[in-house]
Amino acid sequence: MKHSGPEERRERGFYTLGLGLSVVLTVASFASVMTGILPSAWVIPALVVLALAQIVVQLRYFLHIDFTHQKREDLQLLLFTVLLLAIMAFGTLWVMADLGDRMM
């Protein structure tokens, strides 16, 4: 077994930082629901923000998506997919909620 070089230690530190941030965000999500420290109207927005933050953290630290030039194609693919998905998912929620209101 070879000794780990500085490059390997740097990458390990990078992944560990990603894990640490993910753990902090996960604990914050569970705490916001289980402890009741937030006003109830704020819990859902807080959950959405914490989930989005953790998704960005994991994309950055575990899947290495960032703004360096070589990886831009993957970032563009991801962003385009998210755009299509946002149109379809938001459209579904909007249409169905509107239909639900009119059926009342």
Binding site: I44, L47, F62
Partner: protein, 206 residues
């Protein structure tokens, strides 16, 4: 050879793999598959969103959510994703197949643990009558959580097959390229789980 120059795709540096450009395009192709899978998950999320109040007098979010079990599942899947990245590093820095397999099996074991806790939860749901045909909410719930669980089960099968290949052939370039794609898939499943535990379970009982 610096990391920045050779990393043409996210995740692992494949600069050392013989195939070069060809392997890069395989990884990019796998990203296209993952993004199509993301659309599938996203639309099942949207259906769940339209069904979140359609409980028809049956069990709702408070009855189906066992927060302690969800917390354990979240921890196990995060650990699994992290262990996979250390396995990837062992592969990248030529640490030998045994150190790779140790981390690979940590990833597999915690993934299996996730699935066991999920199946126990499903078993409990069936016991209290929260079956998919009970209400629109439960149909959407089982579709979404079950779809993710099936992906994890498929990933475990994939890990098993690759482990056998590694034991038989060693860490050859072809197998390294397969491990890279499995890694993308495995990290992707953890990202989908963030959406599920936040929006289905935590937001359900908030």
């Amino acid at each position: 050879m610096s990391d920045q120059q050779t990393n043409m795709h996210p995740g692992l540096n494949l600069g050392y793999v013989g195939g070069g450009k060809h392997e890069e395009s395989k990884v990019f192709g796998f990203w296209v598959f993952l993004m199509s899978d993301l659309v599938t998950f996203g639309l099942v999320f949207a259906i769940f969103g339209t069904m979140r109040n359609a409980t028809a007098g049956g069990p709702g979010a408070h009855e189906v959510t066992e927060l302690r079990s969800i917390a354990i599942q979240t921890g196990l899947l995060l650990l699994s994703s992290f262990a996979f990245s250390w396995a990837s590093l062992a592969m990248k820095y030529e640490a030998g197949r045994w150190r790779f397999l140790i981390w690979f099996s940590v990833a597999a074991t915690s993934g299996l643990g996730f699935l066991i806790f999920e199946l126990l939860d499903f078993h409990h749901l069936i016991e209290i009558g929260a079956v998919p045909q009970r209400s629109g909410y439960l149909s959407a719930f089982w579709s979404l959580v079950g779809l993710h669980g099936l992906h994890v089960a498929g990933g475990l099968l994939w890990i098993g097959v690759l482990t056998l290949q590694i034991l038989k052939f060693g860490l050859t370039d072809t197998i390294k390229s397969r491990i890279t794609r499995l890694g993308l898939y495995w990290h992707f499943l953890d990202i989908v789980w963030i959406g599920i535990f936040s929006l289905v379970f935590l937001a359900g009982v908030a």
